[in-house]
């Protein structure tokens, strides 16, 4: 197990270098001069632009730019944005906000999704099951920004129960509404996954055996049915943690949350290499770690899975 974990962690090194270089290459290939574009229609003198370009190594070839970035990286310097702010500072303000939002969303979709899915699976074909299916279908088919705007308007503007947008410090209570929006689609998937998996397992041999042994219904359901049904759900949650961390652009935009998605989007539009690469590097690490965690959880959930040498 330890050996396996170590091996997986070592694999992160080439993934990290490959991903950062690829991203740097892509930002480098973006058309246009980012510095000239910063000033819009009011073009500063060419001399001014040339000096600023030189300051950010933008007048250098790709490999030299990447080299400068990497040298800085290993000295703990992630470069600066075009406004002169250290990228590390930008990350320190954006990641905690997004992490809180993603965690809230994850907790919501995991608990509510599994609960609803479990009940629906146990009562297959009944009214609850049918409504769960309809609601989840609706959530999957309606785009997130529609759900976002509707909830914002109803709860924020009309009822006044929640703040329309999230203030700077992004306290947890203000993040509840955005987290619900963010979680809505994944919640629907988890309901459906859990439901299918539960209803499959209900007919499995080990459940019949457990029931025949005389175990109580609650014990059969929680220990035997649910635990075995969670394997696909956990896989999904692991991948989803990654996408919640990085893919909240729409939700962040609607609720004016100063998070990772929006920051990266703006940086890409500005062609800000160091910012984009640093953020994506952290995202890659999060993705890899989340996947590792999922693989390790498999073993915990399903005794048939063991990681040997």
């Amino acid at each position: 197990m330890l050996w396996y974990t170590g091996k997986r962690l070592l694999q992160m090194i080439p993934v990290f270098f490959g991903a950062t270089f690829l991203i740097y290459f892509m930002v480098f290939s973006l058309p246009g001069d980012p510095i000239a574009a910063l000033y819009g229609d009011r073009t500063p003198s060419p001399g001014v632009i040339a000096q600023i370009r030189a300051q950010y190594y933008l007048d250098q070839p790709l490999l030299v730019q990447y080299f400068h970035y990497m040298v800085g990286f290993f000295q703990g310097d992630l470069g600066t944005t075009y406004s002169g702010r250290p990228v590390s500072e930008v990350m320190a303000s954006a990641f905690p906000v997004t992490a809180r939002l993603a965690m809230l969303a994850l907790i919501f979709e995991a608990f509510a999704g599994v609960l609803v899915g479990l009940i629906a699976g146990l009562r297959k074909g009944k009214l609850f099951d049918a409504s769960a299916l309809v609601v989840s279908l609706l959530l999957i088919s309606v785009p997130t920004f529609v759900i976002g705007f509707v909830l914002q308007f109803v709860f924020g503007v009309q009822l006044g129960w929640a703040r329309t947008t999230v203030s700077g410090e992004a306290p947890l209570n203000e993040l509840i509404l955005p987290a619900l929006v963010l979680a809505s689609v994944s919640f629907a998937y988890i309901v459906r996954l859990t439901r299918a998996s539960v209803s499959d397992n209900l007919n499995a041999d080990f459940v019949r055996t457990a029931t025949a042994k005389g175990l109580s219904r609650p014990r059969v359901v929680t220990v035997h049915v649910l635990r075995n049904s969670l394997v696909p759900v956990v896989t999904f949650l692991g991948v989803d943690l990654g996408s919640l961390m990085v893919g909240a652009i729409v939700t962040e935009g609607i609720f004016n949350i100063n998070g990772v998605g929006g920051t990266v989007y703006k940086a890409i539009k500005l062609g800000e290499g160091p910012t984009v690469v640093s953020f994506i590097a952290v995202m890659v690490v999060i993705f890899v770690l989340a996947n590792l965690l999922v693989d390790l959880l498999y073993a915990a959930l399903d005794p048939r899975i063991r990681y040997a040498k």
């Binding site: 973006l30 058309p31 246009g32 001069d33 980012p34 000239a36 574009a37 910063l38 000033y39 819009g40 229609d41 009011r42 073009t43 500063p44 003198s45 060419p46 001399g47 001014v48 000096q51 600023i52 300051q55 075009y82 406004s83 002169g84 702010r85 500072e89 930008v90 303000s93 954006a94 705007f149 914002q152 308007f153 924020g156 503007v157 009822l159 006044g160 129960w161 703040r163 329309t164 947008t165 700077g168 935009g253 609607i254 609720f255 004016n256 100063n258 929006g262 920051t263 703006k266 539009k269 062609g271």
Partner: protein, 538 residues
């Protein structure tokens, strides 16, 4: 929350009632309009400043809002764009080339340092110095000693005494003082020159507001300003401060005004064009602003120069139905253009000779196009370059359709993914057709709409227009001894443009905005920014 808000309203109503009663009892005072709370903080929308808050390096609106609030220059602009003296006591010249600036007594920065002639001269020299790479350095290029490619002192600036300095310009400029209200001309305290980067994080100014202590600028979130007790100029705030909240999307900001989290919003998202007047009855604005939008037509393309080009340019211009597009696509939030400046600028005219080329005229357009075809037949597609990240697609498509339907040629929009990408092709002179172009004035003058865009070799003259007659008229206008004479020259210069059509004027962007019930006296200035200092909060 709902109940809380009602409660507050009830309390404030009661308080107001009490005030009115006591006013009556006294019997002597005039019943003034309900005055706002002079300690109340006004919240408004903004965007993260692109650069540290150094006046000479802040050219975009996000930072501009803060810089104009924190600094006071020699003069400032009223809502209508008229000049009012701030730090200046007088700005005088006999020949429009050598100016003497005298400062008013008693001005101080918020750190108690007095504002002297040196504060201005040093700040301007800093902004102009080549190696300081300030985005607005070109604003000083008409002062003697300026250089675009090497470090050199502005020898035209001389400190006479504590309160007086002289300015020698490269050439006479009658309306030179007009530009001095622009934020790039702000004074800087001595502490700024010790560490400009740190100063940019926590600027110390002499304006109506100052930063609310260290760290008042929460990056990507907001910036908090409070009234500056040392300020005693014409923009004395009627409120206690300003909290500028940064939004990436105007939709979120609009929802916040509706939800009661934001007092003033100086933009209306496209999605709300149809509803803002009913959402905010009597609390919205939609008026022309100093923003000019047009289609630039490069000269390096076949068919678009010489006599043939002149005919084609006029034909294209007359085939664009500006009234219909501003109405349908923009719901009346744009005003069709009749010149190359803006209705809010002194000297604007809708009666320029040749302005009929800006009117939709199907028959004439077809005729001119046919005449051009007789010189050399036109083949291919007419395309209009735009950046697709700026919400331009709808109107570009509408303009292309209007041209297509009128002239019967193929016309399409050509999307670039980003502004940078479109700019690249414009700078490299690789356009294959027209391109969208826009200009927002830095200071309220006709000159500012013309010189940077159409003068031979000017910085933003990207499509390479060059006309000796236009350059001559511009120069004469600049050297004119009175503003009236200058205006006449600038209008004549525009008539040259109407004939040559290096750009096809489309419309002026309106300033649109809404505000919450909690605030009063919201007036938008000529530069599309609300006059924050006048706003009162109940």
């Amino acid at each position: 929350m709902k109940i809380n808000r009602l409660g507050i309203v009830a309390i404030s109503l009661a308080a107001m009632g009490a005030l009115t009663l006591s006013g009556c009892a006294a019997g002597t005072e005039k019943a003034a309009a309900p005055k706002g709370d002079s300690k109340a903080i006004i919240t408004t929308n903004g965007s993260e400043p692109q650069n540290p808050l150094i006046p000479t390096n802040t050219a975009e609106t996000g930072g501009g809002k803060v810089v104009t609030s924190v600094f006071a220059g020699l003069v400032s602009y009223t809502a209508k764009g008229e000049l009012e003296n701030e730090v200046a006591k007088s700005i005088e010249s006999d020949d429009a080339q050598n100016w003497t600036v005298t400062l008013e007594d008693g001005w101080k920065f918020s750190n108690d340092e007095p504002v002297t002639a040196k504060s201005f001269v040093d700040a301007w020299n800093y902004g102009a110095l080549f190696s300081n790479a300030q985005g607005s350095s070109y604003f000083f290029d008409d002062i003697a000693g300026f250089s675009y490619d090497a470090d050199s002192e502005l020898t035209g600036l001389k400190v006479v005494d504590e309160k007086t300095f002289t300015v020698e310009l490269v050439a006479p400029e009658a309306d030179w003082p007009l530009r001095l209200g622009y934020s790039a001309y702000s004074p800087l305290p001595e502490v700024a020159f010790e560490d400009m980067a740190a100063f940019g994080e926590n600027p110390i100014g002499n304006g109506p507001y100052m930063l609310k202590g260290e760290g008042a600028w929460e990056h990507d979130v907001k910036i908090d300003l409070v009234t500056n007790p040392a300020y005693d100029g014409v923009r004395k705030p009627a409120n206690g401060g300003l909290s500028i909240v940064f939004y990436d999307s105007q939709d979120a900001a609009y929802a916040d005004v509706q939800g009661g989290n934001l007092d003033v919003l100086d933009a209306i998202p496209d999605a709300a064009f149809e509803t803002y007047e009913s959402d905010f009855p009597e609390r919205s604005v939609n008026q022309p602003a100093a923003v000019f939008q047009a289609l630039n037509m490069p000269y390096y393309l076949e068919h678009w120069s010489g006599k043939e080009g002149e005919l084609r340019r006029a034909a294209i211009s007359m085939s664009i139905n500006r009234d219909e597009i501003t109405d349908v696509i923009f719901q009346g939030t744009r005003t069709p253009a009749t010149d190359f400046t803006s209705p809010v600028i002194d000297g604007y005219s809708d009666k320029l000779k040749g302005a009929d080329v800006l009117e939709y005229n199907k028959k004439e357009a077809k005729k001119l196009w046919a005449e051009a075809d007789a010189i050399a037949p036109y083949t291919g597609t007419f395309d209009i370059a735009y950046n697709s990240d700026g919400g331009h697609q709808a109107w570009v498509d509408a303009v292309a359709n209007s041209i297509k339907n009128t002239l019967g040629i193929k016309a399409v929009g050509k999307a670039y993914p980003t502004f940078a990408a479109a700019l690249d092709d414009r700078d490299a002179k690789k356009l294959t057709g027209a391109t969208r172009a826009g200009w927002q004035a830095d200071y309220p003058s006709l000159f500012n709409f013309l010189a940077p865009l159409y003068q031979t070799g000017a910085g933003s003259n990207k499509e390479g227009y060059s006309s000796k007659e236009f350059d001559r008229l511009l120069k004469e206008g600049a050297a004119a001894s009175s503003v009236e004479e200058a205006t006449a020259k600038y209008q004549e210069a525009q008539e040259v443009l109407l004939k040559d059509l290096p750009t096809l004027p489309l419309w002026y962007s309106n300033v649109t905005g809404v505000w919450a019930e909690t605030v009063d006296n919201v007036v938008f200035g000529w530069d599309s920014v609300p006059m924050y200092t006048d706003i009162t909060k109940k």
